[in-house]
């Protein structure tokens, strides 16, 4: 890799000097991953926006790490000057799913927070618009949590037309043709095993 990483290295240095506890990784050209403690996220975002010119909140999403009993919040910030994406990640406890809002920094964060509130059930303190958003009349646990059993829910609520039970796994036909083997982790999600 013979690319000029001047901007990236400079940004990493600046973040390192201000946030000593941050775990910083240069994933590839123009992608920097910053892992932070959850209480450092608002100051970090404010710092990145005001001092490092990362003034575009490109995306804000959530990952459910049910094995660790944690949610991971992922903020993607983009800088038009440096042409870099900084990915700020933090983990919060799954039992007390609560975090502070960042809508005072970017107004569009409000909509992302509403969506995450609906899909993962995370409460953002300071955001007063966490009402019903996309799902209507939802009374189950939030559907994007990994302990929500989607297939069982669909079976219970929606009529299934008979005739799909003998559906063939397309991958088996493909592997027969090409001679490849299905890896074990993929077999687990095969159509035959889901029945």
């Amino acid at each position: 890799m013979n690319k000029n990483l001047y901007n990236e290295n400079q940004t990493i240095e600046e973040i390192k000097n201000t946030f000593h506890t941050a775990e910083i990784k240069l994933q590839r050209e123009s992608r920097i991953i910053v892992k932070l403690r959850s209480d450092l996220i608002p100051p970090f975002l404010s710092y990145a926006k005001n001092y490092l010119a990362f003034n575009h909140l490109a995306h804000f999403s959530c990952v459910d790490w049910i094995e660790d009993n944690e949610f991971e919040l992922v903020y993607l910030l983009y800088s038009y000057e440096k042409n870099i994406v900084v990915i700020a990640k933090t983990r919060i406890s799954r039992d007390k799913a609560e975090f502070v809002t960042i809508k005072h920094l970017w107004r569009q964060a409000e909509t992302y927070e509403r969506e995450i509130h609906e899909m993962f059930g995370i409460n953002f303190t300071g955001n007063d618009r966490l009402n019903e958003f996309i799902l209507e009349d939802w009374d189950d646990i939030p559907p994007m949590r990994r302990d929500f059993n989607t297939i069982q829910f669909a079976k219970d609520n929606f009529y299934t037309r008979p005739g799909r039970e003998d559906a063939q796994d397309v991958r088996e036909t493909i592997t027969k043709k090409s001679g490849e083997k299905i890896p074990d982790f993929a077999k687990e999600f095969s159509v035959r095993n889901l029945k």
């Binding site: 009349d137 989607t150 669909a154 929606f158 299934t160």
Partner: protein, 181 residues
């Protein structure tokens, strides 16, 4: 010269002939299938040569196209749209999602069989059906109309309780208007 029965038969033939050549489709796109309608309507496939046209409001339309998957939230709106349409009215289920769920068979928020909730006259399969398939579906509907077999609205009126039961099972907070057709 004619008795009443024969006269009404002839009137029906004329009515159905007129109906089948003037199918106005309500401009309502659900799911991803709505993207197949512009090429169907525009110059290359030109659906208007079969009398298929778009219409602005449900009250002026004859055909309700369900173009793809239906989330529960959309189903509510579709039922209201269908009930506002004036007879004669027909429903075309479009794409494999309306038939058996398609690729959304395990989704938490989409219904899997449209004919449990609305009376479907013609299904077009495919994911997505191309404009040729859409036009062939419409021609099938025209055949059914000229034979007098496209009786979805009548089935809906007669089996309203069964349809309502299925609809209420999915739509939990029922705040729908009651019509007295």
């Amino acid at each position: 010269m004619f008795n009443d029965k024969e006269a009404s038969k002839i009137v029906d033939i004329i009515k159905n002939f007129a109906r089948k050549h003037s199918l106005w489709v309500v401009a309502y796109g659900t799911g991803c299938g709505a993207i197949e309608l512009p090429p169907t309507m525009t110059s290359r496939y030109d659906a208007e040569r079969f009398g298929i046209r778009g219409s602005a409001t449900p009250r002026q339309a004859d055909v309700l196209l369900i173009t793809g998957y239906l989330s529960v939230k959309t189903l509510k709106r579709v039922i209201r749209t269908y009930e506002q349409m004036q007879e004669p009215k027909y429903v075309i289920g479009f794409g494999s999602c309306t038939i058996n769920g398609g690729m959304y068979w395990d989704s938490y928020n989409t219904i899997k069989a449209l004919d449990r909730y609305l009376p479907v006259d013609v299904y077009i399969n495919g994911c997505m059906p191309r404009p040729e398939a859409v036009i062939s579906g419409f021609i099938k509907l025209q055949q059914l109309i000229s034979e007098g077999k496209a009786d979805g609205a009548k089935r809906y009126r007669e089996n309203l309780e069964w349809y309502r039961e299925n609809q209420r099972k999915v739509i939990k907070n029922w705040r729908m208007p009651e019509y007295n057709w």
